[in-house]
């Protein structure tokens, strides 16, 4: 297979397969979670579980001062990474085109050099987080192969995208092909790793918040 | 003659702190056999010349004795040992520093009664009030003597 055929393959059949597995995987994982159900709660609520659930979804984006000081690097680098990743994925002109072809509609984008800067910052944040994970006694202890796999499949698309844009290493065409392939790998493994938190975080915060709401706990 | 607690408490509250400690010491001495560990603290209370510093030392000792003898959460109750806890609490109340001492004699009396009751907690009967009667007599004698 030559470069052109490779690029056509990753843009065509490979993309469809990856997208299919991604969506099917998401549905499966959510089904695996939700089908377990939750018992009815007979305790008289003090507050409103619904409101509590919604409140926690938003409240957990922030933290109290003392907690922030104890986990400052994790929180700051974590936010830089997440915000950067969001900008790179959703606000790059080239990516908006891809979304348009899948959903049928797009949205405004930022200029590519700006997004490029975000990509660099995002990668730096990821590297900082990796080093921290390897150095911090608790994080190192907690980390399983899955944590490192998740890091790699997130980092490589950023790196290959950057390299394609800056015409580094291989031909732009090849780099682009590898970039798209790396995204497809990310899509395929996504539902089966902790990357699922992208979706389940809202569910978890909801459940927790509903319990807090039931008990009338406001923090 | 003192026959009930309202009179008893009133008479005690009328006394100054030093006097309260002295009569309270008599109450605790009545049950001291149940926890001799606090003897020194009780002696300090009984002695009207005890200094504030000496009282503070006694307070620490009595508190430690109380903690030592309390029943741990979830462990099997041993009422005999618990008697020692109440004796220590009585002593603690006696030698509390002036700022903290609310009614040292009364508290000592109440805890001393509990200490006595612990001995026959599983078969409580009217004899439980014997300790309060003894305390009334002790107070009357004290008031006579001063």
């Amino acid at each position: 297979m030559n470069e052109v055929e490779f690029l056509q393959w990753v843009k065509g059949p490979a993309f469809s397969i990856a997208l299919f597995i991604f969506v099917a995987g998401l549905v499966l994982r959510l089904f695996e979670i939700l089908s377990l159900g939750r018992k009815v709660n007979y305790a008289v609520p003090k507050g409103d579980p619904m409101q509590g659930g919604l409140r926690e979804i938003f409240r957990r984006f922030g933290t109290d001062k003392a907690t922030f000081q104890r986990s400052m690097l994790t929180i700051v680098a974590g936010y830089v990474f997440h915000i950067g990743l969001f900008v790179v994925i959703f606000l790059l002109a080239a990516h908006v085109e891809v979304f348009k072809s899948v959903f049928g509609f797009g949205w405004p984008h930022l200029s590519t050099p700006v997004v490029d800067a975000f990509a660099v910052i995002t990668m730096l944040a990821l590297v900082v987080l990796l080093i921290h994970r390897l150095q911090h006694p608790v994080k190192r202890f907690l980390s399983s192969p899955g944590d490192y796999v998740a890091w790699v499949v997130t980092f490589v698309p950023l790196l290959t995208g950057y390299m394609a844009y800056h015409h580094l290493l291989l031909s732009p065409q090849m780099m682009l092909g590898l970039h798209i392939l790396s995204v497809e790998v990310l899509l395929i493994v996504f539902p089966f790793t902790k990357l699922m938190h992208t979706f389940t975080v809202f569910l978890s915060r909801w459940y927790n918040g509903a319990s807090m709401g039931l008990r009338g706990v406001k923090s | 003659m003192i026959t009930q607690d309202t009179d008893f408490k009133q008479a005690l509250d009328k006394l100054g702190l030093v006097q309260q400690r002295r009569v309270g010491a008599a109450f605790v001495r009545n049950v001291l056999a149940l926890n001799p560990a606090v003897t020194k603290a009780v002696d300090a209370a009984a002695n009207e010349d005890t200094t504030a510093d000496e009282l503070a030392v006694a307070f620490k000792q009595a508190k430690a004795a109380a903690l030592d003898s309390h029943t741990r959460c979830g462990s099997d109750s041993d009422w005999q040992a618990q008697a020692g806890y109440f004796v220590a609490r009585a002593a603690t109340a006696l030698v509390a520093p002036d700022k903290q001492a609310k009614s040292p004699a009364w508290e000592a009396a109440v805890n001393a009664r509990m200490a006595r009751t612990c001995g026959h907690i599983d078969a409580s009967d009217e004899s439980m009030h014997e300790e309060s009667e003894a305390q009334y007599r002790l107070l009357e004698q004290f008031l006579n003597d001063i």
Binding site: E32, V44, V138, H197, S219 | K63, S77, S132
Partner: protein
Amino acid sequence: MSTLTLERGINAFKAQIDAPMASFFSSCVSCGMCAEACLFYTENPEPRFTPIYKLEPLRRVWEQEYTLIGKLKAKLGLSKPVTDAELAEWQELVYNNCSLCGRCTLICPVGNDITYMIRKMREGMVASGHAPEGLIGASTRAVQIGSPMGVKLPALQAQVRHLEKSSGLEVPFDKEGAEYLLMLSSMEIMNYPEYLGAVAKILTNAGKTWTLSSECFEATNSGIQIGSSDIARELVSRVVAAAEKLKVKTVISPECGHAYTALRWDGPNLIGRPYTFAAKHIVEVLDELRAEGLLQTEGFEESKLTFHDPCQLVRRGGVVEQPRNLLNMVAKNFVEMADHGTLNWCCGAGGGVSANEDAEEVKMKAFQRKKKQLDELHVDTLVTACANCRIQLEEGMEVNQMDIPVLGLTEMIAEHLVERKGGAA
């Protein structure tokens, strides 16, 4: 109880897993923030005390049983089955080093309710025979005698007689139709008997009808702490039966955090139906009386004081403002700890820790967190509303040679109480 085996333990794990837990396990990104929220870690920084790690065997069971990828991993030998030796190893993490305080649950950025999961994990630990001796003893006594500390009715009756004589108050037993049924904890009956006097004084003065029950006086629930729903159900059913027999409107839970959790939140779900009465903590009742104008006080505490928030009452129970409303009635110099209210730190002794002899050492290490909070504040007095916290705080102060008296909130209010005209003598 039928024989305790690994198989029963694993089955118990499987039965406990529900959608929230699956969501929680799926959301964890191994960020480690839960460790920094847990006093058993912060005061004894060994990574294995990280809250989410305490759940690892349960997580593996979930993954292998309820996810496709987990089933595949197990088949390929990439995920090992949970062994009896592992559960034995985890006993220390699940019981000695966790008071179910709920701070990790509050802090976790992805929203995991780790406390909820540890409570459920204990079900499997009990079924597999890996629960601490002390808790087993307490639970057995609770079921057989009616009190985890073996306190029997005559002991309570003796205390009541003392109280009636020394205060002139009436302490009724089995008064049908009373508004309030007062429950007690064995800790209070044994170590802080003046609590009963304080409540009697306040309720009587407020003109409220109340009663004790000779059939059930124990509010604490060892079943919750050890993690056996069967035992927990048996114990709470006795309270429910007593309350329904006497047809009271409200059952008052004593100054004990876990008793409140057991009665207020777990009870209805254990018996599988709502109560026919309200369940309130004494502090909630006192605050209601205050709001109704039935609780008037005079005089103020002179000392600079602060409040230790019992975890189950405040962070897990939603009773945050009430203790403060009450304290402000009688204190002019009340200062808050830097982390206060729902963010306050556990005393280190809840959730079965204080009844667990194996946890003596780590319990005192955990107290260092409270010590640090107090060292920052320079107060003369510490007030709280839980008998178990009180003993732990007193012991901690003793060991660390701190000279701060610990007082109970209800007793403090009772001391400042103004007799109401028209209140029953």
